[in-house]
Each structure stands twice: as structure tokens, then as C-alpha cells.
Assembly symmetry: C2
Homo-oligomer: 221 residues x 2
Amino acid sequence: MIEERRERADAARNRRAILRATEELLARHRPEQISMEQVAAAAGVGKGTVFHRFGSRMGLMVALMQERAYALEEAVASGPPPLGPGAPPEERLTAFLDAIVDVVGRNKGLLAALGHAATATPRPEWKEQNGHRDGGDSADSADHAPGSRDGHPVYRFWHGHTSTLIAARRPDLDGELLAHILLGSLQSEPVLRLLERGEASRLAASLRVMAAGMLASPAPT
Amino acid sequence: MIEERRERADAARNRRAILRATEELLARHRPEQISMEQVAAAAGVGKGTVFHRFGSRMGLMVALMQERAYALEEAVASGPPPLGPGAPPEERLTAFLDAIVDVVGRNKGLLAALGHAATATPRPEWKEQNGHRDGGDSADSADHAPGSRDGHPVYRFWHGHTSTLIAARRPDLDGELLAHILLGSLQSEPVLRLLERGEASRLAASLRVMAAGMLASPAPT
DNA sequence: GGACAACTGGACCGTCGGTCAAGTACGTTC
DNA sequence: GAACGTACTTGACCGACGGTCCAGTTGTCC
């Protein structure tokens, strides 16, 4: 099989510049307020370049999110407890929620933007002309089929892990859905605003309360 | 004092037509996918009329939501228990969450759309049926004071009621935030999808689990 | 150093939310 | 029932934005 040529040096430089510019913009504005032209300008490249590399607005966000979430994914899969394997489910869940709050807090509303982009992309189909290899694995990053998408990989991983932990402790509950609910709260405006005000720990605390209450043994009544 | 004149007959007719058309469109599509032109066409009026009556995309959504939520507000304030006053907080909360799931289920994603629009709208306040002068001031885009707007009235009411009920039973918790988390889940994509598949009762059940776990007396640990 | 593909940039397109000035018709008053 | 003031209606128009296209540039391989 033909191994892909190495990414050209200038392309790599620009890709990094775009990602960095986006991060910077994201630190100051909500994702919906950032236009692709702004990103291009901030990165010092043409708009076409941005689209060439990332395919679409959402592609950019996904790529960025993926990068940010990578470390967490690693830590969960093979890091030390309580985040990694080895600790009891409730402790792992707590640690995981804390970690997620941290990631989301440093990327205001990115998650939310992704969630909506999923529905909002009017894109009927995806032209396969893009050499879409953003920072490594992207086996499935191209499957933006409107029908089949359950969210992007990062969300899928977060949700899968959360619901697994819930199910481990309380198989009688609807872990799948509870995980969506827990994670879904990170998309809401008021919560985002809280994060913007730097009250991440307050959010983490309440999330812990919810998780604990839910995992506690069934009410004696 | 001059009373506001009655709404003109044609205006009333058009307002109803617009609201109805929006509802109809909303039954088939997500709010973000509906363009104002579409609404106007479906209602059989000019685009200008829609904007004249509702001020903006969000104004329309708010008006619609308000109408839908009115009955619930009444029931909570002065209806029979468990929704109305008289029942213990946990029962009222459960009933209230069920009712909200029902309302949201019949208005796909409206809440979510509002939540997001909240950040994007320049419209500071909206009187029910106002002679609304929208020309002239173009300085309005500067007035979204990030602190002052906590979402639209409907959300404020829902949140206020929820957090009050939580606080009544568990004053030691961060009821404000927990209410946002609970309500926020109704904005997330996966949950919306669930609702679209008609699994509202499944959602209601899980919400009850969360609420119950949270209101249960503090863990003995 | 030559050839070729990958990459780049920005003019361009269609759509959308929102505006406006001119026209229309409702309700009132005599 | 005619005349009148005004609330209401309209659709062309505007600026912005996401996304496309392709001619020109540049890095890489031989």
C-alpha cells in the first residue's frame, strides 16, 4: 500500500497556525461568533487554506477538540487511578467528570458547538477531495453522514466511558441516557457562563453530587 | 392615559398565521434549519411582516415558546397538586420535570434554540404585542450585557421553580446550579434525538432518578 | 534541476438574518 | 359613507458568512 507522503513542511506550519489561532480566538469568543475568515486572518493564511485543511467549520472544531481531548483519553485508558483503570467506578466517574469540566472550561462551548453543528450542517454530502488527516488518526472523522452520526468521536468516547462507569455500579439504571444527561449539561448556556466566570470547581462539585446521588444504592423507600 | 388600541384585525390574523406556520415547520424540522423566509412563505405573508411582529428570529421562538409554556406556568402557580402547591417538594419536582419533558417533547429543540439565541440576540426586552419600532437605533447590538440576561422568561421560570424545589428539600446543595444542569440536559443533541424518537417517558424516568438521587438525604459516608 | 503534486489565496457564489421606505387597508369620526 | 390618520404590510435590498474554485506557487522526490 502507498504510504502517504509526509505532510509538507509549509502545510504543517499552516495547520498548526490555524489550530493555534482558533484556540486563541476561542479563548475570547464563543465558537458561533468566530467566522472562518477571522480564523484565516488570525492565522495569517487565506480562507481557502482553512477549508482545504479542515473541510468545514465543524471540521476545524472537531480537529481542535480531538487534540484537546487526546491527553484525557490516554489518561483514562492507561493512566494511573483514579482516572485510569483500577479504582472503583464511582471514584473513576468523579475523577472523569472533573477532568471533563476542566477540558470544557478551557474550550468554551466547543462541545456545544459540535453538538449543534451536527444538526446544523446543511451539507448534503461530503466531497471526498480533502486530504483530511488532522493530527493523526482520522479513520472516522470523515463520516459526516447526516443520518448516521451520533456525535463526533470525542463525545462518543466521553459518553461511552461515562455510561460504562454508571452501568458498572448500577446496571439497573439507564446508564446510556444518564450519561447523556450528565454530559449534556455542559452544553447549556447558563453552565457555559459559569465556566466563563471561572467557577469550574462549583460545577464540578455539583456534577459530583448528581453522580453520587445517582450511583448511591436505590432509595430504601 | 392612552390605552393601547386593540390589535388590528389583519395584524392579529397574520400573527396567528405566523405562529401556526412556525409550529408546523417546527414539527418537521429543527429550529436552526428553518429560515425566516420559509416561515413567511408558509404563513402567506411578507418577510418584513414577520420581522415587524417578532423583531428577530429569536423573538419568534420566544413568543412561540411562551405560548406553549403558559398553561404549565398556570398549573404550577395555582393548579392542583402535585404540580401545583400543596404536595411535598420531591413530588412537585418530579411532576414538574415530567411536565417539562412533555412540553419540550412537543417543541423539538425550541429550548435549545432559545438558549443559544440568548447570546446572539440584540433584543433586550419584548412586550407581548407591541407597536415595535425597530428602525433607528442601531446601537442595540452593544446592549447584551453578559451579566444581566439569564435567558428568556420561560427558562427563567422553569429554572426558578426547579431550584426553589431543590432548595426546599436540600438547602445545603447548590440548587441554582443543579437546576441548570437538570434543565440543561434538555438542550443536548442526543436527548433531543431521543425525544424525536418518542421516548419521552424514558427521559422522564431518568430525570426522576437524577432528581431523586440528588434530593435523597446526604450519603452516610 | 526538472517535474509533479500538494498547497495556497482570494475572488466569487448562494443564502440568510435583518432593514427600510413606500404603499395598503383598518378603524374612527363626523 | 367619505375622508383621514396611522398601524400594518411588503419585497427589494444590504452586509456577512460558510463554502467553492482554480490559477498560481512551492516543497519534495528522483
